[in-house]
Symmetry: none
Subunit: 140 residues, 2 copies
DNA sequence: CGTGGTTCAAATGGTTCA
DNA sequence: TGAACCATTTGAACCACG
């Protein structure tokens, strides 16, 4: 986590932003009516380099592309652990205002800290390419 | 670190303040200019009975990393008791100048004296790695 | 058999009040 | 201040469909 950001309050952070300059995913804080997945699409969140996207063959000793935990297979089109799978299901379609980062929106996500920043965790889920389209239509 | 200390040193105290037999820790604390830990050391403060506390048998047998009290799990990413958890919530985001140590800023924190020096208690909370990042943003 | 979906106990941040 | 409580999130285990 980026502790340096702490001197800025969240309110300051939001106020500092220019209202009509929604160039990035993070600045989308200002514009609050869309869900995370829409935002990701609209603002073209950069994808991480995808060595993680292995051929769908071997299922042993896999590592979650989000947090690094042990993984047993694909979930929503990427190799992830069970907890990130459940997390993605629960959060991918939420309104972004429910998932604010307390810092600069670039928290590292690890197995130890993954539950401390839902914003950056879901952001990373999308960044590695997890597909919300696979979520059943009833939840959309 | 010597923030807002009184001028008397621990050594001065021990030399000049021989307690008489009627002195108790509590009486002394009322007019204290002295470090809690020093007082405790000098006046042989009776230990609280832990049996009551220990009776709450739960699954785990953990010890608070701040004060040593019985702990039941993680709070703010470290194993702590419920009281240090609540204390951290209340104080982690305060201005440090609101939390003055009367002494040298190095009070020992124990289950018995933890509430006597908020400065040193919060200092220890941070020293053991409690994460203020987990505090929800609305309190910042 | 793989993976999306479900369940639920455990964990833990937050609240209350004496 | 801290014991007791409450509410929400989590993730391991499981189910079931294709």
């Amino acid at each position: 986590m980026n502790i340096d950001c702490y001197s800025i309050t969240e309110e300051d952070f939001i106020n500092e932003m220019e209202p009509n300059n929604n160039d990035t995913f993070d600045e989308y804080f200002l514009d609050s009516n869309l869900c995370v997945s829409t935002m990701i699409k609209k603002y073209d969140v950069p994808m991480l380099d995808n060595n993680e996207y292995m051929k769908k063959t071997k299922k042993k000793n896999l590592q979650c592309a989000v947090c690094g935990a042990r993984a047993f297979g694909y979930n929503f089109d990427r190799i992830t652990c069970e907890s990130c799978k459940a997390f993605f299901r629960r959060n991918a379609l939420k309104n972004i205002m429910e998932l604010k980062c307390r810092f600069d929106g670039n928290c590292d996500i690890t197995i130890e800290n993954r539950r401390f920043c839902t914003y950056c965790r879901i952001k990373k889920c999308f960044a590695i390419g997890m597909l919300y389209e696979i979520l059943s239509s009833k939840e959309k």
